[in-house]
């Protein structure tokens, strides 16, 4: 016998683990035990398998790895005796979960046990199956379980019912097989079977609309009667909880009725009486009764409208809300959330109580209440509600402030009746809990302030006042510094003074003081300091009398270790010092920020892509851009006018879609961006990385020499492609002149820059069904951009419909696709689709074009798709 396995009993092991004083000691004990168990496993020790498995489970619960015991569970399950099976199934459920491959091995054992003569062994197998079965097992064993739903012993029937729930959750397709046997469970008298049967039917209805229809027609009345009998049943000690017979069954029946009644007037009518009875007669002094009332209210709220019942339900919630028990108040808030969509007026009546719950000492209740308040806010009550919330913000606990601030800001932004109120509330929030305010929120505040030209003075004065008292709120200071930088003169001159304001006298140096304190504050971070420097620069021009002082402050940051600050300090210092004459024009007030754009961007319609593409250099030399932009734009516009489908007119459409603001001076820029964005979208669509452009030659050429289209162009193309050196600028003129000779196409040597060299057409893609040719042309004055006309022709005898061409290019290229001439491609080459592509090569003359394409179409209403990569572009494009 193995020297280890004679060792400790389970009880002794637990005792020795509990006696451990340190984690290290515990690890040592566990290691020793694990070693013993492993040894026993390798010797295939059967006498102590039972005990070893139990030990492993305990060790597992402590968090140690126990995978080596998994096979032991399987062996234990496969052994004939009940004790072995019992511990084996327990181990299986504890040590494994449904994603482990090992689980598949147990399917057969479970199947045998489901057919066992001992009902307790069948029960074990059902329990394990119900708790951890995977989709495959569910499929394999569903017939066994279905049979067990009619087993003579109720203990097995109820287990089979719950097991079925697991099966249909894993494999919803199987749901329909169970409808009939589930329906028969509803006629049971045994509470366990009825309980699980109702639950099964509820789940079936959620998964299958067929089941829902069936149960609605055949079972509604029966279920109503069961509930009625249960509600009126005399005292039954076995099922009694707090004077109510089987609240669990009550709740499940109510839940099932909810599913049946939702969206069906007749069925809902059918259950009105019993719901009214449950809602009025149930005792509400114990938790069990409240649980039933809660479920009943949920059902009344969900089924088709019945005014009287709803009033009853809302009244119950009102009672709940004033209950002293926190649990009851919590569920009331929870349910009012759902009720608000049904009857918001009724919920509004409880506003005051709900607002009190926001201030509760219990975090769960606070959170629920806050979310409810958020839903309750509308234009008419926004002012008092916001006031309450902001007042509470002052005394709220730190960990709750983040949520609260976010909600207040959101409410204020959404419902503010006027700008001045919005600014006031935001300033209050900033001075109370500025550090919890998200960046986009205070950015939005600045945007609003710049847009309210009559409130500039008011805003800057209010901020000045607040900074004096709440100077430790970094975000508040940032907004204040920004506004003082922009509107500092209004602060000093009291410009735009409103009647309600208290008079205030601020000198120029007071204003500079604020910024100076902010920049010197120990806790200020980089953003704040950088903003301070900008504000100082602006003030130096607004307040010439302070410019020496300002310069002194700026000078201190010339030695800053932070590059950003150092650079700003140096450059701003130079402006203050040396360029007095242009200073005032340099630091003019910011133009009004565009509110619509900002809010559009915040709404998430524009991802980060925009900011990067705006920052990306435009691939045109500075001077040239302006001169060429006009004709180019015209050209582009022309081409988009030709397009048959006006709804997708190229770049503009894309821009509208993405909500980008166009700065009027650089339409060229914008089109480029649009193209780029289009490409990005496509790249994402096809999700390809950047294929190395130089690897062209290694990839087999798509155009095979044996092609039947033996045009001169093609021959030439094949001649030129093997000899292609990596992106030579010199080759294209050579090859093109040769091509020109053959083609009889007269080049214009006097204006090579305007026309550019002409390029041969290529067969970009050819399969047994489809052929794609590309014709190239260049726009005058823009060597980087190539216009490709793609022609698609159909080689089969059936027409293609829903034809879609997609293309993706590596990052150094920008691609723009115009809409295709048609989406139907006639059979046997009797016509073609053409589509224009515009491609801009930012590495022009260094890298050649490369493109990956995907073509989708319907052939006899079957979806087809073809893919390919095009590497045989003529060089120099």
């Amino acid at each position: 016998m193995n020297p280890f396995s004679s060792g400790t009993r389970l009880r002794d092991m637990i005792r020795s683990i509990r006696a451990c004083k340190t984690a290290a000691e515990e690890r040592a004990v566990v290691r020793k035990e694990c070693a013993a168990i492993r040894a026993a496993i390798s010797e295939n020790d059967q006498d102590y398998r039972h005990r070893n498995l139990a030990k492993l489970m305990f060790i597992h619960m402590l968090g140690y790895p126990t995978h080596f015991g998994q096979m032991e569970c399987l062996k234990s399950i496969a052994s004939p005796g009940f004790p072995e099976k019992r511990i084996g199934y327990l181990g299986l459920m504890l040590l494994l979960d449904e994603r482990q491959e090992v689980l598949m091995l147990v399917t057969n054992s479970i199947k045998q046990d489901l057919n066992h003569t001992n009902q307790y062994i069948v029960g074990l197998a059902l329990c394990a199956l119900g708790n951890i079965c995977s989709a495959e097992m569910a499929r394999d064993l569903a017939p066994e379980v279905e049979r067990l739903l009619q087993f003579r012993d109720p203990n097995i029937r109820k287990k089979a019912a719950l097991c079925t729930i697991r099966i249909i959750r894993k494999v919803p397709d199987l749901a329909e097989n169970f409808i009939n046997s589930a329906a028969s469970l509803l006629k049971e008298k045994h509470h366990g079977v009825l309980l699980t049967g109702v639950q099964l039917c509820t789940d079936l209805c959620k998964i299958s609309s067929e089941a829902l229809e069936y149960f609605r027609k055949k079972c509604t009345e029966g279920v109503v009667k069961v509930l009625k009998d249960l509600a009126n049943s005399p005292y039954a000690p076995e099922y009694d909880i707090a004077g109510i017979t089987d609240p669990f069954l009550h709740i499940r029946l109510l839940k099932f009725l909810r599913v049946l009644g939702q969206g069906d007037v007749d069925t809902s009518d059918c259950m009105n009486d019993i719901l009214a009875q449950v809602a009025t007669k149930t005792e509400s002094n114990k938790n069990a009764g409240n649980a039933i009332l809660y479920e009943c209210v949920a059902t009344i709220m969900s089924i088709e409208d019945n005014g009287g019942l709803r009033v009853l339900a809302i009244n119950i919630l009102g009672r709940f809300l004033s209950n002293r028990d926190n649990n009851i108040r919590y569920v009331a808030l929870n349910m009012l959330m759902r009720a608000i969509t049904v009857d918001s007026q009724a919920v509004q009546r409880h506003r005051a109580t709900i607002l009190e719950c926001v201030k509760d000492s219990d975090a769960s209740i606070r959170k629920r209440a806050l979310e409810l308040v958020y839903l309750l806010v509308n234009e008419s009550n926004v002012k008092p509600l916001t006031k309450e919330l902001i007042d509470y913000l002052e005394v709220s606990e730190p960990e709750f402030r983040g949520d609260l601030t976010a909600k207040i800001c959101s409410i204020v932004e959404k419902f503010s009746p006027e700008k001045i109120w919005y600014i006031d509330q935001m300033l209050k929030v900033l001075s109370e809990a500025g550090n919890y305010v998200k960046d986009d929120v205070w950015h939005a505040l600045i945007v609003v302030i710049t847009n309210a030209s009559n409130l500039h003075g008011y805003a800057v004065r209010s901020l000045y006042r607040l900074v004096q008292t709440a100077g430790d709120q970094e975000i508040l200071v940032r907004v204040a510094v920004w506004c003082i930088g922009e509107y500092g003169d209004m602060l000093v001159n009291n410009t735009g003074f409103l009647d309600m304001e208290e008079p205030i006298t601020v000198t120029e140096s007071d204003a500079v003081d604020v910024v100076e304190t902010a920049i010197k504050r120990h806790s200020s971070d980089l953003t704040s300091r950088a903003m301070c420097l900008v504000a100082l620069l602006k003030l130096s021009s607004r307040f010439p009398s302070c410019s020496v002082r300002i310069n002194n402050i700026i000078v201190q940051y010339k030695g800053s270790l932070v590059l950003e600050l150092q650079q700003r300090a140096l450059e701003f210092g130079a402006i203050v010092d040396k360029h007095r004459n242009i200073r005032s024009t340099l630091v003019e007030r910011m133009p009004v920020l565009d509110e619509a754009t900002y809010s559009g961007r915040r709404a998430g319609s524009v991802p980060a892509v925009v900011s990067t593409s705006q920052g990306a250099p435009i691939n045109l030399p500075n001077g040239v851009a302006k001169t060429t932009s006009a004709p180019l734009v015209d050209l582009l516009d022309l081409s988009s006018d030709d397009v048959p489908v006006p709804s997708s007119s190229g770049g503009d459409f894309l821009q509208d879609l993405l909500g980008v603001d166009l700065s009027p001076s650089s339409s060229q820029t914008d089109t480029n961006q649009a193209q780029k964005r289009g490409t990005d979208v496509l790249l994402d669509l096809l999700s390809i990385g950047t294929p190395p452009a130089q690897s062209n030659s290694s990839i087999p050429d798509m155009v095979s020499p044996s092609q039947d289209s033996k045009s001169a162009i093609n021959v030439l193309e094949q001649l030129s492609s093997p000899s292609a050196p990596a992106g030579g600028v010199s080759t294209p003129p050579g090859s093109s002149s040769m091509m020109d000779l053959l083609d009889g196409f007269a080049p214009n040597p006097s204006k090579p820059e305007n026309n550019g060299p002409a390029y041969p057409s290529i067969v970009a893609f050819e399969s047994s069904t489809l052929k794609v040719t590309f014709n190239f042309s260049k726009q005058p004055g823009n060597q980087q951009t190539t216009i490709i006309e793609a022609n698609f022709s159909n080689k089969t005898f059936d027409a293609y419909t829903d034809f879609i061409f997609q293309a993706a290019v590596p990052k150094f290229l920008q691609l723009h696709l115009d809409p295709a001439s048609s989406n139907t491609l006639p059979a046997s080459g009797n016509g073609s689709i053409s589509q224009k592509l515009r491609i801009t090569n930012s590495q022009h003359s260094k890298k050649s074009l490369v493109m990956r394409i995907r073509i989708g179409y319907k052939l006899n209403s079957k979806d087809m798709s073809e893919e390919g990569q095009i590497n045989n572009f003529p060089h120099g494009l």
Partner: protein, 161 residues
């Protein structure tokens, strides 16, 4: 649906875990740690629900043990409290005024009882008596098997003497 059941001691030690939804092993440890941090510090007067990762965890404290069950947002929290109490009462009847030590040394029994109460995260039986009867029947099956085994080994021992 109940996604998992946890029994955690006041000190944060795990006494029982049952997972009805798939959580990988690493995730389980994380979940337990997170929830201990969330639940154990809560005061006695507060409500018995915490919101966690879009789910709700209903807990109830019995002496030094916290019984926790994780459910969906729209499940009935009050009913879960009743289910927890139901389980505790059955444990109490089985062990005869149950204490934490009973559950430590007889953890497998606690699991067996739970398996008679819940399957697939749904309640299986609302009668405490029925659960007790089934557990007792299975325990006696184990006892008979043991006796048979020992008597068999006795016979073998006698015979080989």
């Amino acid at each position: 649906m109940i996604h998992f059941v946890l029994l955690i001691s006041r000190q944060g030690k795990v006494r029982l875990t049952k997972w009805y939804s798939p959580y990988p092993q690493k995730e389980r440890t994380k979940v337990i740690r997170e929830l201990s941090g969330l639940i154990l510090p809560r005061g006695p007067k507060l409500c018995n629900f915490v919101e966690w990762r879009g789910f709700k965890v209903v807990y109830r404290r019995y002496a030094s043990l916290y019984f926790c069950m994780c459910i969906n947002q729209d499940d009935n929290e009050l009913e879960i409290l009743e289910i927890i109490h139901h389980y505790v009462e059955i444990l109490d009847r089985y062990f005869g005024s149950v204490c934490e030590l009973d559950l430590i040394f007889n953890f497998h029994k606690a699991y067996y009882i739970l398996d008679e109460l819940l399957i697939a995260g749904e309640l299986q039986e609302s009668s405490k008596k029925t659960v007790a009867r089934h557990i007792a029947a299975q325990d006696s099956l184990v006892e008979t098997a043991k006796e048979q085994a020992s008597s068999l080994s006795n016979i073998i021992a006698e015979a080989t003497k």
